[in-house]
């Protein structure tokens, strides 16, 4: 596939016409946005010394926007009625006792729904159904399973979770032993002194793949918006600044924790002995968190509220009443006949009641 010249030409958009057709502009918008934001921190901290603004005001404001925005979006979703059972299914519905029903792929009990949702959320099962279509020989279309996206998504989300949990050591006193154990397991491949965590490497590779995927596959590039690139780049910025802080430009972690604890007890003080990378890390996190309720990242609560995933497939076993049903004005045949009996008789139309 990679051998042909056409592949390279058409997939990397060297032809001007392709560039337009493939909407690569979104990428450049988000790259510029990220550069601009980085520039903003550098100017703000180095040029204007707005340390308290970036380490106290912005994080608090971001957290506020996150919580309020999150609640607002979810409550707004909750105001939409879901009158019909519309699950997406891919298994045998329950019907006659001698036909084996599939309670996971076509759930008919709450337990089945919970199992299916859990598999979706924890193992990203729907992504395993991905297929890639390939044209072999002139007239043969092949559908092959494609698990690369599943693998990348799993690697990304799980390492993100582990990193977040490990970060709790900055916010909890005493540090729970589960966090300490997690940290040790995550650094198991190093000698006596941990350098970089396994999850750091996994998340970098996964993010790289998820980003490159949007650029090299023409179909995916076609549907990618600048907001898709933006969140990926934002998270990449957070991870890279974090890893650099760990490996090269170190910060005083004890001071960072003292700052975090002061934020939590609402007596904020600016952190000492930290460098520009920490300000970038923190600013990008604040942006991510504040942007969360406005963005596609709301798929996190959204998965729980998806009618196609959280409903039982019982549309034929149970009566589901439309909550917005109102008395509909009807005109039945009996009434019609009553109204036009005379005229009907006159032209000799058959009538039911004498």
């Amino acid at each position: 596939m990679f051998k042909t010249k056409r592949f390279w030409v058409s997939n990397f958009g060297f032809r001007a016409s392709n560039l337009q057709g493939f909407k690569i502009m979104g990428l450049w918008y988000s790259v510029s946005a990220i550069l601009l934001l980085t520039f903003l921190v550098v100017i703000g901290i180095e040029g204007m010394g707005l340390v308290s603004f970036f380490t106290i005001f912005i994080p608090y404001a971001a957290l506020f926007l996150f919580v309020v925005g999150f609640l607002y979006r979810v409550l707004k979703w909750a105001t939409s009625p879901v009158p019909f059972h519309i699950p997406t299914v891919s298994g045998q519905q329950r019907s006659l006792s001698w036909i084996k029903a599939d309670n996971i792929d076509s759930p008919y009990t709450t337990g089945g729904v919970v199992k299916r949702l859990a598999l979706d959320i924890l193992l990203f099962r729907p992504l395993l159904k991905n297929e890639k279509v390939e044209m072999q020989a002139p007239q043969r279309l092949l559908f092959k399973p494609s698990v690369l996206l599943w693998f990348g998504a799993m690697a990304f989300h799980w390492s993100f979770l582990v990193i977040l949990l490990r970060h709790l050591r900055f916010f909890l006193e005493p540090v729970p032993s589960t966090i300490v154990i997690l940290q040790r397991v995550d650094s198991i491949f190093q000698g006596l002194i941990p350098v970089i965590y396994i999850t750091d490497i996994i998340i970098l590779v996964a993010l790289g793949y998820l980003f490159v995927r949007r650029i090299i596959y023409p179909q995916v590039r076609y549907i990618s918006l600048s907001s898709d690139y933006f969140v990926l780049l934002l998270i990449l910025g957070i991870v890279l600044s974090g890893v650099l802080m760990r490996l090269i430009y170190k910060v005083d972690l004890v001071q960072v924790k003292e700052w975090a604890m002061a934020m939590l007890r609402l007596r904020p003080v600016a952190p000492k002995e930290v460098n520009l990378l920490f300000y970038i890390h923190l600013f990008f996190i604040s942006l991510l968190v504040a942007y969360f309720p406005l963005s596609k990242l709301m798929h996190m609560p959204g998965i729980f509220l998806s009618p196609t995933r959280n409903l039982t497939n019982t549309s034929r076993n149970q009566r589901h009443i439309n909550p917005w049903d109102y008395p509909v004005k009807t005109h039945t045949y009996e009434e019609y006949e009553e109204e036009f009996r005379d005229s009907m008789k006159e032209v000799g139309l058959p009538i039911e009641k004498g």
Binding site: F66, V67, F70, L71, V74, L75, A78, T79, S80, P81, V82, L168, R169, F171, L172, E173, P174, V175, P176, I179, V180, Q183, R184, L192, I193, K250, V251, D252, L253, V254, K257, E258, M261, L264, R265, R267, E273, P301, F304, L305, P323
Partner: protein
Amino acid sequence: MALYDGKKIIPGLIIFLGLVSYPIWHNTVSGKTSYVPKLEIPKDKKECIEPKAYIRVNHKELLEDWRFSVVRSGVRTYQASNQKRYTMSLNRTCMECHRDRTKFCDQCHNYMGVTNKCWDCHLYPKEMEKGAK
């Protein structure tokens, strides 16, 4: 506006709020919201091997270098940035000044959830005194 499925969504949102604010409850219950590590600095000595800002952040790498140097290269003297010379030894140098690790090293390490296995093998003076008694 009516809320549909409020019986499930409201508890879900309460769980969300609980998770987001978990650190506050955790620290309030443990009563350590304003805890900071208390370090016992050696009174008779004036300075550490390297400047304070440097040693606080980089002692992990420094010790790793020392160990590598002693165990692999056999070089046992360390020249600090202020040209003073020290023997590269965890027990006999660091712990000679910072005599009780529980009042110094562990203060920070427990605070940051850092565990190190060094003390499985290396001793520190306070521990030896206890053993002698």
